[in-house]
Amino acid sequence: MKVLLAEDSASDRLILARLVKRLGHTVIEAEDGTEAVDLFRETQPDLVLLDALMPRMDGMEAARQIKALAGERLVPLIFLTSLSGAGDLARCLEAGGDDFLVKPYNRVILEAKINAFNRMRGLHQALSDQRDHIRRQNQQMLDEQRTARRVFDNIAHTGCLDAPNIRHHASPLSVFNGDVLFAAQRPGGGTLVFLGDFTGHGLPAAIGAMPVAEIFYGMAAKGFGAPDVLREINRKLRRILPVGMFCCGLMVEADFKHNSLRVWNGGLPDGWLLRAGGDRVAIPSRHLPLGVREPDQFSASMTVLDAAPGDWLVMMTDGLPEAPNSGGESLGEEGVLSVLAGLEPGQEPFEALLERMQQHTGKPELADDLTLCCLQMVRAEAPEAMPDKIPESALTGPADWRCVYELREQTLADFNPLPLLLHICMEVPGLRSRSGEVYTLLSELYNNALEHGVLALSSEWKTSPGGFSRYYQERTRRLGNTDGHFIRFSLEHQPREGGGTLTVVCEDSGDGFDFTEYSDTVMQQQAASTGRYAGRGLEILRRMTRNLKVHGRGNRVEIVYDWWFPDAAIISGA
């Protein structure tokens, strides 16, 4: 150990220096305070012995300067003094001294003190090293999280979370708190939103979130509906997550064309549908979280709610109701409800909830383990061409083909053929840019055939308030018996100069409508006069196609759809 000894009396200095050297330490000698400070700066000693009374600069002042120079480093400073008044000794310690040694020096006590401070110095050094180590580790972890976050963003991207009818709050690092929020446009219009909350924090939660993002965006783009996406997420998480880890979640499928919402809540706090008229409908958790049940026991049964443009859907993770205020109390689900109940007409629930949270926690920044998302119902817009560029393989692939696909019996209840049929059509070079329109055509034909053909449901029910839920109850009930029924799609595609023609015939085994042959004009009048759902569905088809024919008893519908490359010039120039 290097010991700095400052003592103005040459004889005292000599005695003390010898004592310290005999203990095995190196001694640096100073004659007064100023020299002590200079030598301290130059030699960086490990311990300082300082006479309290010295010429030029006394020990008190030297102690202050030395402690300032030492900074974070622990350099024990022992005053050497012949003073014995309690006040004088206390002043030594106030000036930054750690201890004092009263003259005349006692060898045994000097040795014991030097050793004690040496131990303390070692301890301090170990603590500082560990602190620096933790600091470096933490910095490294934050850097890694930022990098991981970028990787995650590339998979999860923000989807359509920035759409004007979606408001959300999610911390940039929320994925490391186990929260995930995804939103995607469905090919035929409509929006799919998933809010999830993994048990646990950090890396395990983030790793679990990756496949959920891939499944969600991958399947949504292919036209799968919420139940299929949920089943797949559950299957995947059940397989990859260790027992005891799972993901609470709320899935919403908003259909702006038919003004309905399909919702599923497994383990998240109540979601809310806030109708523009002031009604509130709770969306409570009715299912086990994702990743708990084996696939064959998993229930993806959705609750169907009717909704109108302007209605809001609110969903949140438990970080919101559970966020503590300074007194440790949380807002609770009752607190959330009171905010929603107190909304002024036209006031957005998102703003009101955030404002209440800031009031509650007293902090402008929200904690990073809460996620809030509000989705507003809007008027359906005509499906837009997907912004995808034409893939490089645009000129290769099947363009001239015909296929028949028939679903029978129980499969009608269990299987949604739309993603598969869409997939077949999307193989046609260039048609991918029209996936939204093609999906709409296929789904209108399919839903019409299933609900009004096979299941013989009356669309008039859906127009009355009570009839809406009756319609969906009856739909579920009748799907239980599809014996002897079928839906047959005949798809045909032919290339044309600058595009192609897709012909779809959809037949079903139902009794059909109570008409024999409807021309386009009759269809239009019928739709306008009664506003019936079937009429509306067929009206959408009529507007999008070159030709629409309803044959037989109304259970055979044929459409002819012409399409063009988005930019024919690029194709012909390629």
Binding site: G244, M245, C248, L288, P289
Partner: protein
């Protein structure tokens, strides 16, 4: 000790009592409570009379116990929950997996 266990006289029922907060801090002792139990145990009772709080990691621990006790064939009852604890169990629909009394 926040976790206490007792065995019924016939050795078939293991009761695990959790005192105070049932969260990640009890992870190891909760595991120890059932992992070292006798093979004769066929029925588990989780007594939450003295549990003030339960979080999602406790839900995970209950699933681990369920897995240990035979998954779908496990016989586990969760008893004497206070209303907060009960609410958390029912939000996650754990009554589908455990008998909650």
């Amino acid at each position: 000790m926040p976790i206490e266990t007792r065995r019924s006289d016939d050795g078939k029922t293991l009761t695990i009592c959790v005192e105070g907060r049932f969260d990640f801090s009890t992870h190891q002792s909760f595991r120890d409570a059932y992992e070292h139990s006798e093979p004769t145990v066929s029925h588990y009772v989780i007594d939450l009379s003295d549990t003030t709080y339960l979080d999602s990691s406790a839900l995970g621990m209950l699933l681990l116990l369920r897995d240990h006790a035979g998954g779908d064939g496990a016989r586990i009852s969760i008893e004497n929950c206070n209303s907060d604890v009960r609410r958390i169990l029912s939000i996650s629909n754990f009554e589908q997996l455990f008998s909650i009394r």
